[in-house]
Amino acid sequence: MKSAVIVFPGSNCDRDVFRALARFGLNPSYVWHKETSLAGFDLVVLPGGFSYGDYLRAGAIARFSPIMREVVRVAEKGIRVLGICNGFQILTEAGLLPGALLRNAHLRFVCKYVWVRVENASTPFTAALGKQKTLKIPIAHGEGNYYADAEILAELEAGNQIVFRYATPDGQVSPAANPNGSVANIAGIINRKGNVLGMMPHPERAVEPLLGSTDGQWIFQSLLNTN
């Protein structure tokens, strides 16, 4: 199992996710955004941060980086792609995931622990979860307000593509548990094929007791087990 962490100019969670991947035996390497090949990798991770400063629109410039053509190509081949925060934004800009991430409804950056309910535990990113239904994982974003029109939303629902929703600790999906105004409390979605996942919460920040939660480990465990 080998994983690639794509580094864009302005990525700033690349080192964090690298450490998390290494911790769970996913053998990470950094891949600079100007490179053009992802040959030999079984997993591609687009980390959080502010690629190109999020200038213009989060992810809007990064999608034109040379490596993105290759990311699209390997995604179509079925290689797993995980986009976290800014990575999720880039995946929607690149057309690998539907919808868009708008500015938070309250127009402020928000960093805190949230709870997400796992809506689909049969993806390669969530299969190790077992009985645990809610995860405590931090968010940190200014543009995490997921939007999709009614048609796309219906498709996502029908295809069981909504993987995480913001919820209370006991799993209630309520407006009060929604930290950014996302439609239907959506915190993470997967493509129809089931190999490209985008999520706003940062699982790499929740992999050891010292940091306050270990719930992020399930994402990495799942990826290892389902390889």
Partner: protein, 744 residues
């Protein structure tokens, strides 16, 4: 070629030089300076760059010893050994005046500047802190400033990927016209990978790296060295504009350049831009430089030599490159999409020669520009302020008694000075780098030292009301409180950086405050063995309404040798004993009770016995490190009652009640509950540890006893207070958000 104005005394005065300083300059050069030279000396001899009115006092601070690797003032930031071949590098700096006229950019570039101070030494920033002061939130302008400053700090730090983990914020009328924005950065570097801000080696090329040079921020250093008034609004063009994305590239490129071993020295361009970086590097290397300004990449055409030398455009570095390694430097810059240009070379002769459009526009001796060299140094007149006698008078007995202490507790928790700053720190990415072990909202924050099982506890502290009432003791308390906050987490205090925010030093009463406060800092730092690694002086914090409170902000770093010592401030375990360490006296001078309930800022600040403080801290640290204690919190603003409420509420997800009981004290109950006596802690510990804790504190000669038990969903302080946690929590967590939402 621009036609440069003829330099004369009048022009020199307009540049902020005094008549004596201008005469000194004439003598130094033996001729009339060129316009560019006048610009160079006016910024280098400004208060901001020269520390001319503060350096004599600063030299009295303990600036070496302990684990210090670099003494204060030697490099851009202090360097302290933390073992394993690693050092922590940290510094605090003010950006008050820019933030007063343009809060968003002022604060953002304040963060950017202090980040560069740290990474220019080769250290990767792992934590950011700040210390903020504003006028009261019922004023729309103050809300605008507060909101803009928080957004500015957030957008810059978040984009850069450095967690903003701790800070402090106070609201007082004296800051209405002149808010304070102090930013601090903490970085980690291997001993053998540090870089110095020095130039040497004849013929070595000099590079400018990063953003292009524009007209922004010209005379920013001079702006920082004058009082704010109605005309200051017109200074907005003096405020620099930040580009955190470029800073992130510059950070990565700088660390890569340093690790590649291709540099002789590197210095960030902050105040006074190219002027300051080139003269300081040359002066430190006892050499000179030739600069050709035509080669400086410009953001706008038609800039003059004067403007290029004085521009404070952000996100730029000046690097002296080892000859023969130019290609490597250029390749690294290209990788990070950064511009770089060779703009000159090092020369043996100790002179800075500047050419532009084929002409020599400046030729100055670097040594005479800089602090510690020929920059002017003054001993200012100090006189005890007359207000002190007036405000120090306080007859506690004359205050009407409090009938409902519970209501007062709610009132204090709803004071923006005490209320949770959650609204603020949730806008900061405080978890990036995945190393924040103690999140904001407690005492000090703790970040892990990457790759080790060690942690750094970091905090900023200053109760300026105390310093206003008693400059010397108030400053001592600022150091003691910072150390207390660090100790509560299980860390041993290592060293401090300070940001000294004062009024106009030419006013003897202001200078008295400054001199006394610095003396107090020195005494406390010596007693607590926390040397000063460096810092920043910000004078002229005055508006037409007067000077701000003297505000010597302390940034402190402590070391957890082992992260298993990590201890939170909030109660953890129902059934635990609650311990009160330290003694309570009727000390209400400068207290939050007096301010919030009685509307007064009067009295003398609380007593502080530095020896007792040190022994108490040692005992608490020993209790923590022996594993006897589950939580530790210091007693500060609002006294015992507020501290107990905080211990109940600070774990917002799992608030825990408390029931404590006191016998009738020998003073009014409200004095006992809300006194701000120093050297006190609230601990929680399992009942099984009772005997050991008794022995430990007894041997240390410290007063400490169990006062009650953790548990339930109320805070009960018998016989006076019984309140539901929900009610306390609503006030504590919502006060600031509510005030800021009203403003829209």
């Amino acid at each position: 070629m621009h036609k440069e104005p003829q330099v004369n005394l009048e022009l020199a005065l307009q540049h902020g030089l005094s008549a004596e300083e201008y005469q000194h300059l004439l003598d130094l050069l033996g001729r009339t300076p060129t316009f560019t030279e006048l610009g160079i000396f006016s910024v280098m001899w400004s208060e901001h760059c020269s520390y001319k009115n503060s350096i004599l006092e600063l030299k009295k601070l303990p600036r070496s010893g302990g684990r210090l690797l670099v003494s204060a003032g030697e490099e851009n930031a202090g360097l302290v050994d933390i073992g394993d071949g690693l050092a922590v590098c940290f510094k605090i700096e003010s950006h008050n005046h820019p933030s007063a006229v343009e809060p968003y950019q002022g604060a953002a570039t304040g963060v950017g500047g202090i980040m560069r101070d740290v990474f220019t030494m080769g250290a990767r920033p792992i934590a950011a802190l700040n210390s903020l002061r504003f006028g009261p939130l019922d004023d729309a302008r103050n809300r605008y400033l507060f909101d803009g400053v928080v957004r500015g700090i957030a957008d810059y730090g978040n984009c850069l990927g450095v967690p903003t983990v701790a800070g402090e914020i106070y609201f007082e009328p004296c800051y209405s016209g002149n808010p304070l924005v102090n930013a601090m950065t903490v970085g980690i570097v291997r001993h053998d990978q540090t870089a110095r801000a020095v130039a040497h080696g004849r013929g070595n090329p000099v590079y400018i790296i990063g953003s292009r040079t524009g007209r922004d921020g010209i005379h920013g250093a001079t702006f920082a060295s004058e009082e704010l008034d109605e005309a200051s609004e017109a200074r907005r063009p003096n405020v620099q504009v930040g580009d955190p994305f470029t800073e992130k590239l510059l950070l990565e490129a700088t660390l890569e350049l340093i690790q590649a071993g291709v540099l002789v020295g590197i210095q960030d361009m902050g105040a006074a831009g190219l002027t300051c970086s080139s003269t300081e590097m040359a002066a430190k290397g006892k050499c000179g430089m030739e600069l050709i300004l035509d080669r400086v990449p410009l953001r706008e055409p038609d800039m003059s030599a004067y403007e290029i030398m004085l521009s404070e455009s952000q996100e730029r570095m000046l690097a002296v490159v080892k000859k023969g390694h130019e290609a490597a430097v250029e390749a690294i810059c290209r990788k990070w999409d950064l511009e770089c240009a060779c703009i000159g070379r090092v020369i043996d002769e100790p002179v800075l020669r500047v050419y532009f459009q084929g002409q020599k526009v400046a030729e100055v001796p670097p040594f005479h520009c800089v602090l510690g060299g020929g920059a002017p140094v003054y001993q200012r007149e100090a006189r005890k302020p007359t207000y002190l006698e007036e405000v120090n008078r306080l007859e506690l007995e004359s205050l009407p008694p409090v009938t409902d202490p519970g209501r007062v507790l709610l009132q204090l928790l709803g004071s923006p000075n005490i209320a949770s700053k959650q609204w603020v720190y949730e806008q900061y990415d405080h978890m990036v780098q995945a190393g924040t072990c103690l999140l904001p909202g407690g005492d000090a924050a703790v970040v892990r030292v990457p790759g080790t099982n060690k942690g750094l506890a970091v905090t900023t502290d200053c109760n300026a009301r105390y310093v206003y009432l008693n400059p010397r003791r108030g400053a001592r308390i600022a150091v003691a409180e910072a150390a207390r906050n660090v100790v509560c987490t299980g860390a041993e205090p290592l060293a401090v950086t300070n940001c000294l925010n004062f009024g106009n030093p030419y006013k003897p009463e202001i200078y008295y405050q400054f001199r006394e406060a610095v003396a107090g800092l020195g005494e406390a730092c010596r007693a607590l063995n926390t040397p000063v690694t460096g810092g920043n002086v910000s004078f002229y914090n005055e508006s037409p309404q007067g000077a701000v409170y003297p505000t010597p902000v302390i940034g402190m770093v402590g070391l957890l040798e082992d992260l298993s010592y990590l201890t939170p401030a909030a109660f953890v375990q129902p059934g635990d004993d609650i311990w009160l360490v330290g003694e309570t006296f009727p000390e209400l001078g400068g207290s939050e009770l007096l301010r919030t309930t009685y509307g007064k800022v009067l009295g003398d600040c609380p007593h502080l016995d530095l020896d007792l403080e040190k022994r108490t801290q040692r005992a608490v640290l020993q209790a923590i490190r022996t594993g006897l204690v589950h939580s530790a919190h210091d007693v500060a603003e609002g006294g015992l009652a507020v501290a107990l409420a905080e211990c109940c509420l600070m774990n917002q997800e799992n608030p825990l009640g408390a029931k404590v009981r006191f016998s009738q004290p020998a003073m009014r109950p409200e004095w006992f509950l809300f006194s701000e006596s120093q050297s006190r802690f609230i601990l929680s510990a399992p009942p099984a540890a009772r005997e050991q804790l008794h022995d430990l504190f007894q041997q240390a000669g410290i007063s400490a006893q169990p006062i009650g038990t953790v548990g339930g969903n109320q805070l009960i302080i018998e016989p006076w207070i019984q309140l539901d946690l929900d009610r306390l929590s609503a006030v504590y967590y919502q006060t600031i958000a509510q005030r800021m939402t009203v403003s829209g």
